[in-house]
Symmetry: C2
Subunit: 243 residues, 2 copies
Amino acid sequence: MEFTSERRLDDDVLERGFTLGGIPGLLWTPTTASAPCPLVLLGHPGGLQRMYPRLLGRARHAVSGGFAAATIELPGGGDRPRMTAVDEARADLQRVLAAGERVDDGIVDRLVLPLVDAAVPEWRAALDALLALPGIGGPVGFSGGVIAIAVRLAVVEPRIAAALLFAGSYVPRAVLEEARRVTIPLLVLLQWDDTGNDRQMALDLFDAFGSEEKTLHANTGGHTGVPGFEGDDGDRFFARHLR
Amino acid sequence: MEFTSERRLDDDVLERGFTLGGIPGLLWTPTTASAPCPLVLLGHPGGLQRMYPRLLGRARHAVSGGFAAATIELPGGGDRPRMTAVDEARADLQRVLAAGERVDDGIVDRLVLPLVDAAVPEWRAALDALLALPGIGGPVGFSGGVIAIAVRLAVVEPRIAAALLFAGSYVPRAVLEEARRVTIPLLVLLQWDDTGNDRQMALDLFDAFGSEEKTLHANTGGHTGVPGFEGDDGDRFFARHLR
């Protein structure tokens, strides 16, 4: 892991850019912490620069709650090499949605599964590097992003102790099965009127999770309309489980 | 409204029993408030004495948030005259559930609609009396209890500014239609594994509400297993809308 930039955003937050095996990432840490912080990994749909303002808002929430926050670019996202087959599947999905047709499982599988397979080892490698830094301890939370990536991470990565999932993207049927093996505490956000998502599938996914503590927060509004108070609820969820 | 008892529970909470037209009720107020408090009405399934420990817990939450809290006995509940037809419908429902049969609309209508028709005018009369007391102002929130009563109150009672609903009882189809006319902010609690409830109907009801701000909190566990952190979430919901 090499740091490529460093700036103090205000008195309390230090933002550092880094690369890890050619993958760009961002790390936000409190400047005032006296002990190693728990870490919250910030998921996103790909495109760190485009997502930066929202990631920064979420990072500030995490840091003000006493956590470090970090994220890395997704495979095929931002300036990273495209994943052509995934791009084709995404274009197919958009055509189907625009035509008001039923989204078939094949498209969702082609869109999501290769991304999960490629991304999960990268996030685990990032976790190795981040947890080796002074000032960052455990436990680790995962927050938002492509829900299928979060589900796989929750199954395979024992260092992740709690996850705040955003049920805002299509989920392959195989991920429903994977969800039964998730046992960590979950807070699942669902935008009730998200036209680019399958509400019933999101509810089926929530039902499938094996976790003893799982909470669904569904709110009115579309994909990007998550109410501000959910940020506070997310802080409290992580405070309960990462402290 | 006549007060029948008064005791100071601790330094901060005054509990008073009252009757209003023969209906018993309880009122909890902060002892230290300097200005009139917003009021939270505490719904329940009937049987004030049986429900007292849980009502008191919820009242303490409300008072610690700076609100007054009050409740009245339901028609047919506690020592009030039985509602024979409602009791029969309840027994029918329990038989059907025990036999694992489908709950038909007729039973639910017979169980819930007469209760709603009888209870709602009583809660409105209680509101008249409570808001006339020194130390209690508006706005008013409604919390929990029989969800069909809360829905009707939210439609007909303009003094209710926000409602925390517990989707923990069967809902007549007619109430789904009524729900479309609800426009106040809502927080709806659903226990995902409540075997004495119809989860799909609860989700349909959430979908039907006309409110621009509505949030569903679904948690694992049965009817009485609402996690403690939902009490805090409820406080914050009312703090957002009643202050």
